[in-house]
């Protein structure tokens, strides 16, 4: 295998999405808008967490970027630029994903941009052996390789995710849920892409398996330097692994900040409500309230700020004016939020005006200490030895 470049070149963008709009159904056929004016930039090696509830448009957005959204999904506006590294090296080339033809897309897919789906059970072809499903992508994108080379690579990939080579001949139904998801991850990394989009990759798994796979995934990311768009409704998990978190509500980005900023000092009432929806594992028990009401239906969107019917801070202007994503008033960080409480027009409630954390350290997976197993923290993990 070719050697991986030494570490990700942070700062260089790999994906630029601007003002992306996505509908279900054509406008002429009475389609509904599912994603509105989403703008963000993803840099090489960055882990972007996309959090939101069902119907918030997070999956729609993720599938539309590689233009894999199913009918009746339609992209109705905006731009998606993917910065493709040429095979032989050299400066990256900007590819407009929305004007690209089928062949251009086919050549970007999996080579530069791959995906991991929520349910590996459904994402693996039930009637084909693991080997065939790992090598078909090599046969397509590495035409010069011999069958022996492809097989060798398939073995290497399986071993990378901790599966023994003898499972190559297995069918998907012969593997456990965790193993199937590992196969999917191995498959996604087969061509060492620059970006992996992960749609709730661990939601269907048990918590122990989920943890094992997340740890493995982040270790691989550290080693191979790919960027990740990680979609989940589980904000508490995202806070542990993402560099940047984008919170979606009703098809819009309502807040985007580093994981540390978001968990320590949320700016949007919805972000704060979400954070307060996860009971803590430790510390004093306190009564929590979640967020009243339910997310709006796509067909009956409220006017103004889409969150106002559920927002305790909603004011007069929220009913009619839709806030734009902007840097919060008085913040020096690169974070953005879409809320009139943060643009200086209204007083900001204290709980939404906590100071930005001083150290905007990337997620713990980025610290060198995470690469080697950390010594256990006695407060976190009680060992049996402590008991007697």
């Amino acid at each position: 295998m070719t050697a991986v470049q030494a570490g990700p070149v942070l700062g260089e963008p790999v994906l630029e999405v601007s003002k992306l709009c996505i509908d279900y159904g054509l406008p002429e056929d009475g389609g509904v808008r599912a994603v509105t004016d989403v703008t963000f930039t993803l840099r090489r090696g960055e882990v972007l967490g996309l959090a939101g509830e069902s119907g918030s448009g997070k999956s729609t957005l993720a599938y539309a970027i590689p233009r894999l959204l199913r009918a009746p999904g339609v992209i109705t506006g905006g731009d998606v630029i993917f910065h493709q590294r040429p095979v032989g090296g050299g400066p990256s080339q900007a590819v407009d994903m929305l004007t690209a033809d089928a062949e251009t897309l086919a050549n970007i897919r999996w080579v530069d941009l791959s995906m991991v789906f929520q349910s590996a059970m459904h994402a693996l072809n039930p009637v084909a052996r693991i080997e065939g499903q790992l090598t078909d992508v090599l046969r397509r994108h590495r035409p010069g390789w011999s069958p022996a080379q492809r097989k060798e690579r398939a073995v290497e990939l399986l071993q990378m995710v901790g599966i023994s080579a003898d499972r190559l001949r297995a069918f998907p139904h012969e593997l456990s849920g965790g193993m199937r998801q590992r196969v999917m991850i191995a498959m996604a990394l087969a061509l060492e892409p620059a970006l992996v989009i992960m749609d709730e990759p661990t939601t269907a798994l048990d918590v122990v398996t989920q943890r094992e796979i997340i740890e493995e995934l982040m270790e691989l990311r550290e080693r191979l330097g790919f960027a990740v768009i990680f979609i989940t409704h589980d904000l508490s998990l995202l806070l542990e692994l993402a560099d940047t978190i984008a919170i979606m509500y009703a098809g819009r980005l309502v807040e985007m900040a580093t994981a540390t900023e978001l968990v320590r000092a949320p700016r949007h009432p919805y972000s704060q409500g979400l954070l307060n929806s996860f009971p803590a594992l430790h510390g004093a028990k306190k009564r929590m309230v979640g967020i009243p009401g339910a997310p709006p239906s796509l067909r009956a969107m409220p006017a103004g700020c889409k969150f106002h019917p559920r927002c305790v801070h909603a004011g007069e202007s929220c009913l009619s004016v839709e806030p734009r994503l902007a840097r919060p008033n008085g913040s020096f960080s690169a974070r953005t939020v879409a809320c009139t409480l943060q643009d200086g027009s209204r007083p900001t409630p204290a709980e939404l005006a906590l100071p930005d954390p001083a150290e905007t350290a990337p997620s713990r997976f980025r610290t060198p200490a995470a690469a080697v197993p950390a010594p256990s923290d006695p407060n976190q993990n009680l060992t049996v030895g402590d008991l007697s």
Partner: protein
């Protein structure tokens, strides 16, 4: 962390899990066992010898991974499936096996299921769903019945109740459906509410609303609630007592905060270290790997031993008894047995 314990030598007394309260528990299960035949003489050992007591006005959380038998336990408690062995006691009285006794039992014990999208029949209105248990188990009829339906809907915060009663399930959101399912359970003033993952399919922001509803019912209706979940953080939030299940058996139980703050069984520790925790800033160290065993051929001895980093010789051979490890806390683990203390210390020191 705890004082050394003195389990009675040689005997393995039946340990009854669940919140410790004075008086007779609303529902008690003794030695419940369920083996499902799967053909060719094989059986799935889904639930083994579980004794659990649910006193009124308490919440007991049953936590475990998929396939741990927690849902089967909940269904055994409804009387919906017959246990292979063991018995149920309602207010201290054994539940009869006659059709009449079982029908009476169904008015006292209700089950709320996981999927709010399939737990209501799309062919019937919300009102119908709530009327049925009333018609089956009470003499309320006519205008009184309608008033009762409205009152029940209001009680689960579906107001105005009359309006909701006329709606059909497809017009409701997931959280609202789950409230209808709970209202139906409350219709005939049950003693016990069994909730099988009642919030796992709901949106994150509305889960707490439903959990808080359970919390309120515990006090207001003096209900004995069994909360089955895979989410140990929500179990800690809602429950008085947490019961941890693994491969059909209870491995640890005790007061909720004690379990999450001072887990004594290696499996509970594994579960806790794997759970997402935003407060954590270091990678958790997972002790133990692999996946749950087949319940057709469960491992010998302690069923957790193939995954357990502390496994000793005895763990492979003998199933551990439930040993007291703290105030009202028990763990089924040989590490806590005085006879194996020396070996346990040695194993722990290595890790």
């Amino acid at each position: 962390m705890t004082d050394s314990v003195t389990p009675p030598a040689g005997t393995a007394p039946t340990v009854v899990h669940g919140p410790k309260r004075e008086g007779t528990p609303a529902l008690e299960a003794r030695g419940l066992t369920k083996h499902f035949p799967v053909g060719r003489g094989k059986v799935v050992h889904a639930v083994e010898e579980i004794s659990i007591a649910l006193p009124e006005a308490t919440v007991t959380a049953v936590v475990g991974e998929s396939g741990s038998g927690k849902s089967t336990l909940a269904r055994l408690l409804t009387g919906l499936i017959k246990p292979t062995s063991g018995e149920l006691l309602l207010d201290g009285k054994p539940v009869g096996t006659s059709a009449k006794a079982l029908r009476a039992y169904t008015s006292d014990v209700h089950l709320v299921l996981q999927d709010p999208f399939s737990s209501l029949n799309s062919a019937h209105s919300v009102g119908y769903h709530i009327e049925r248990p009333l018609k089956l188990h009470s003499d309320v009829r006519g205008a009184e019945l309608d008033a009762k339906v409205v009152e029940l809907l209001d009680r689960v915060s579906l107001s105005p109740g009359a309006e909701f009663a006329a709606k059909y399930p497809h017009e409701l959101s997931g959280g609202q459906r789950q409230r209808v399912a709970i209202a139906r359970g409350l219709a005939v003033r049950p003693r016990v509410l069994l909730a099988d993952e009642p919030v796992s399919m709901l949106d994150v922001s509305i889960r707490l609303g439903v959990l808080n509803l359970f919390d309120g019912l515990r006090e207001d209706e003096r209900l004995a609630i069994l909360y089955v979940t895979h989410d140990i953080a929500s179990a800690r939030y809602l429950a008085d007592t947490i019961v941890v299940m693994y491969a059909g058996q209870v491995v640890e139980s005790g007061p909720a905060e004690q379990i999450t703050d001072a887990p004594q069984h290696p499996y509970t520790q594994l579960l806790l270290s794997a759970a997402p925790d935003p407060a954590r800033d270091q990678a958790p160290e997972l002790r133990g790997s692999g996946s749950p065993p087949s319940l057709v051929n469960p491992p010998s001895g302690c069923r957790f031993h193939p995954r357990c980093p502390f496994a000793m010789a005895v763990c492979k051979e003998q199933a551990p008894p439930s040993l007291p490890v703290g105030t009202d806390q028990v763990a089924a683990c040989w590490l806590h047995s005085p006879e194996h203390k020396a070996e346990a210390d040695a194993v722990s020191a290595q890790i």
